[in-house]
């Protein structure tokens, strides 16, 4: 048996896997922001039980590791719907729940960071609650929310690596597969880390630029 060294073929495979990482991040972000937005609104709703339930949800998601959530979905749900569920479904659902729990809390903070006078002014203009949200509060909250949201995208991209534990072939899992065949762990995982860095660093830098240009803190 011959073991070959790390070659361009392996690199190509890693690049394909990186596309799955990006795809899975996109699924998690779309699902997570839809769900997270609803939960953020529930968190500041006037209904007490709604506030309580959304707060419980956030506590649950933020207080348990994503890894355990993924195992729970992958092995646990399979008990109900058949022998196994496709790993992309479990991974997509797990990361969506994870992203929604954190985004909800980030966005709640951003909505509440809109100055109190804006809420009061909207009320004085006899806007309904929904009108006040849509026309006055949310456009301003969006501005505040952009930098931390882009920052959180980096967390999501990094955490898609955990989907590898349930057999989803993304960047980290592709690295493991290559390592199993050529056994050069150090080279392989450094290359894998470099690709993650190539995806995440521009996002981090962008988040910092946004923070400066939108200049939220000094208003």
């Amino acid at each position: 048996m011959t073991t070959s060294a790390f070659s361009i073929v392996h690199f190509e495979f890693l690049c394909w896997a990186a596309l799955w990482t990006i795809g899975l991040s996109a699924i998690a972000l779309v699902g997570g922001s839809l769900l997270g937005f609803v939960i953020a609104l529930a968190r500041i709703s006037s209904n007490k039980s709604l506030r309580w339930a959304s707060s419980l949800y956030i506590q649950l998601v933020q207080g348990t590791p994503l890894l355990v959530l993924l195992f729970l979905l992958y092995y646990g749900i399979a008990v109900f719907v058949g022998p196994t569920i496709p790993s992309i479904v479990a991974a997509g659902a797990g990361l969506t729940i994870y992203a929604s729990g954190f985004l909800a809390e980030i966005w709640r903070g951003c909505i509440e960071a809109v100055p109190k006078s804006q809420w009061e002014a909207a009320e004085c203009l006899a806007l309904r609650r929904s009108q006040r949200m849509v026309h006055v509060i949310l456009p301003q909250a969006l501005r505040i929310a952009t930098p931390p949201t882009v920052g959180f995208v980096v967390q999501v991209v990094k955490n898609t690596s955990l989907a590898s534990v349930i057999g989803f072939i993304e960047l980290a899992q592709a690295g493991k597969l290559i390592n199993n065949s050529i056994f050069e762990p150090f080279t392989v995982f450094v290359v894998v880390a470099a690709i993650y860095f190539g995806i995440c660093f521009p996002l981090s830098a962008w988040s910092r630029t946004l923070e400066r240009t939108l200049n939220v803190a000094d208003r």
């Binding site: 348990t64 355990v68 092995y75 008990v79 980096v154 990094k158 980290a172 390592n179 880390a193 660093f201």
Partner: protein, 227 residues
């Protein structure tokens, strides 16, 4: 749809759960303490070091913060082995988590250092405090006091993230769960139980940090408010 929950099936394995909890706490406590020290030193170096040191620390922080912990754990575990030094999975896990949390601590403490106003240091200089005294009493302690809540959240996240080290067979809580579910075939119950244990742990760790903060930062206790 006729699944019957049987949490009692897990009862005989309480000892393994307990060991998992202890090891999770041990690994995260090690990483928290050493990561805090490394992170604080890096933050000071980044604020006052030579240009080369500043660049070096900035690179360390960026590289760690923009790559997944899972990959870092693999590099630590296999990388150290490639160097010819044999370390156990638990040690490799602690090292990886330390390096990881050190970078995050550095960013947080740096924000704290930046929040200390220049006039504070000038005032301290006027009072003829030595450089070490200024650093300790006027810069570092108040800075850490200010960012203490952020540090707490970061260390709770670290405790949860330590579950990732189960992937290199560090024998912590998640690894214990993986083993138990493969013996009992009660995967659903096992992961629900473990999720609940992590939830309790995160509350306990948060409470411990709050208590620790109360005893260390007495000024906050007297004022009753954050600074």
């Amino acid at each position: 749809m006729s699944y019957r929950f049987d949490f009692l099936a897990l009862l005989p394995y309480w000892r393994e759960f307990l060991w998992g909890v202890l090891l999770t706490l041990q690994i995260s406590a090690t990483a928290t303490v050493s990561g805090f020290i490394i992170g604080t030193i890096c933050a000071i170096a980044r604020a006052d070091g030579s240009p080369f040191i500043k660049r070096l620390v900035a690179t360390y922080v960026e590289v760690i913060r923009n790559t997944p912990l899972l990959v870092q754990v693999f590099i630590a575990y296999f990388g150290i082995a490639t160097l010819g030094v044999h370390v156990s999975a638990n040690v490799a896990a602690s090292i990886a988590l330390t390096v990881n949390v050190g970078a995050y601590t550095c960013e947080i403490v740096r924000a704290g250092l930046q929040s200390i106003h220049r006039s504070q240091m000038e005032a301290a200089e006027c009072l003829a405090l030595s450089r070490t005294q200024i650093y300790w009493h006027v810069v570092i302690r108040p800075a850490i006091e200010r960012v203490y809540p952020s540090l707490t959240s970061q260390y709770v996240l670290l405790m949860l993230a330590s579950s990732i080290t189960s992937q290199i067979s560090a024998a912590e809580l998640t690894a214990a769960a993986n083993r138990i579910q493969s013996v009992t075939f009660r995967s659903f119950e096992t992961y629900i139980a473990v999720g609940f244990i992590y939830l309790v742990l995160s509350f306990v760790v948060r409470a411990a940090f709050a208590l620790f903060g109360q005893t260390v930062f007495t000024r906050r206790r007297k004022l009753g408010t954050a600074l």
